[in-house]
């Protein structure tokens, strides 16, 4: 999966336009990065990559790149 495709999926999770995101975007700067988005991220990871993630790992994400890094099969 390309980086752009990953960003599209993260944008879908956050319910924002992909153009608003880059790998360097700081998640805490986005009002949409909240507990609901964390659950949507888990569902996306399960559906597209068949993997699970701990809550502590998600809360440690600082940038969009951190989220992209776990999006592997």
């Amino acid at each position: 999966m390309t980086d752009n495709e990953k960003i599209d999926l993260i944008a879908e999770v956050l319910d924002v336009e992909s153009s608003k995101l880059s790998p360097d975007t700081v998640l805490s700067d986005l009002a949409e990065w909240d507990s609901v988005a964390a659950l949507a991220f888990i569902a996306m990871l399960d559906e597209h990559f068949g993997k699970t993630i701990k809550g502590t790992e998600i809360r440690a994400f600082e940038t969009v790149r951190d989220a992209m890094n776990v999006m592997t099969k």
Binding site: D34, L39, A40, I42, T52, G55
Partner: protein, 346 residues
């Protein structure tokens, strides 16, 4: 393996009660910004909840549901051989609230009575216990009461708690009969901290600091749910050779809409077969499955017989699946009540 087909058993009746006070999710805008509230409503599906007037407890709601159900079925306290009350919020520390309910409902002394501390898998586990007692011949008829009021969430600063939980109580009669109930139960104590209220209890009897209310690791709870629950539902259907499509409805614990959609997606189940009561009642903890059945029944014709598969999952960690049949005529319409027990102790 904890799975069993219980034979010669029937669900004789089901009733639920909720408080009359309704809180709309949009009222959360008084505490949180409108965008957060809209996202919360879209993700959880919760538009409103019925909440306690502050005096009602889970046992009060169960009492009203049980009394009405016993009247409808022309049963007296002499006809009940076991009363199980499943709750996370008992009326008193000691004794078990089930004994107070036995007294209030006028149930005979020749009766097995106990509380069980369980949350969102309460109805599934409760049916499993009582089905075993009925099938073994230990009892002829059991009364399962599941009820909670989550007063502790009303002042929280976290929207996913503040707007999530509704209050409800349910009563279900299980008796010797001509049907069967299949059940499958799973438990994972290694996840005991995922949803917990550590204080006050015997482990920390003197500690006054720190939160005294329930904490939940939302992400880990969600992961547990969307992985373990579809897996168990599939195992259940394979074991009992009952394809999921063969059931009229799949009634899931009403955790939130995202959870229901995710489980349905994994089971390739149309959401038309997954009834939702979250919109009206929120997440009503252990009684959410009976609340959803009652809510569903209000949309169906009388004289039908429903073939249901149901799954509850949550604190413990605990999760399970049952299948059962129930006649719509045996499901009472939702009871709305403000009654509560006027305790004379001060």
């Amino acid at each position: 393996m904890i799975s069993k087909k219980f034979c010669n058993i029937s669900i004789e009746g089901l009733a639920c009660a909720v408080p009359s006070k309704v809180v709309l999710s949009q009222e959360l805008t008084e505490l949180f910004d409108a965008n957060s509230v809209n996202r919360f409503v879209a993700a959880t599906g919760i538009k409103q909840r019925h909440v306690t007037n502050g005096k009602q407890t889970g046992s009060d709601l169960c009492y009203v549901a049980a009394k009405k159900l016993m009247e409808e079925k022309s049963l007296s306290g002499d006809d009940i051989d076991a009363l199980v009350f499943v709750t996370q919020f008992p009326d008193y520390k000691i004794p078990s609230t089930a004994y107070v309910l036995q007294y209030r409902l006028g149930i005979k002394q020749d009766c097995l009575v106990f509380d069980v501390n369980l949350g969102c898998s309460a109805f599934i586990n409760g049916i499993y216990f009582l089905a075993g007692l009925v099938e073994s011949g230990t009892i002829n008829r059991g009364l399962l009461l599941v009820g909670d009021v989550d007063m502790e969430y009303q002042n929280t600063s976290d929207i996913s708690f503040a707007g999530m939980f509704g209050d409800a109580g349910s009563a279900c009669l299980i008796t010797k009969g001509t049907d069967s109930i299949n059940g499958m139960i799973r438990s994972d104590g290694s996840g005991y901290k995922t949803i917990w209220t550590p204080k006050p209890g015997a482990r920390f009897p003197q500690e006054k600091n720190g939160p005294l209310f329930k904490t939940m690791n939302g992400e880990d709870t969600f992961t547990f749910t969307i992985t373990k629950v579809p897996k168990l539902l599939k195992e259940f259907c394979n074991t009992f050779e009952t394809p999921i499509e063969s059931f009229d409805y799949c009634v899931l614990h009403q955790a939130n809409l995202m959870v229901l959609q995710q489980i349905a997606k994994k089971l390739k189940l149309d959401m038309m077969k997954v009834p939702v009561s979250l919109d009206k009642y929120g997440n009503t903890d252990g009684s959410s499955i009976p609340v959803t059945i009652v809510d569903l029944c209000e949309k169906l014709k009388k004289g039908e017989r429903l073939n249901l598969i149901a799954s509850g999952f949550g604190v413990g960690l605990s999760w399970g699946v049952i299948s059962l049949t129930i006649a719509t005529d045996d499901i009472l319409p939702m009871i709305v009540t403000d009654d509560y027990y006027k305790e004379d102790y001060v």
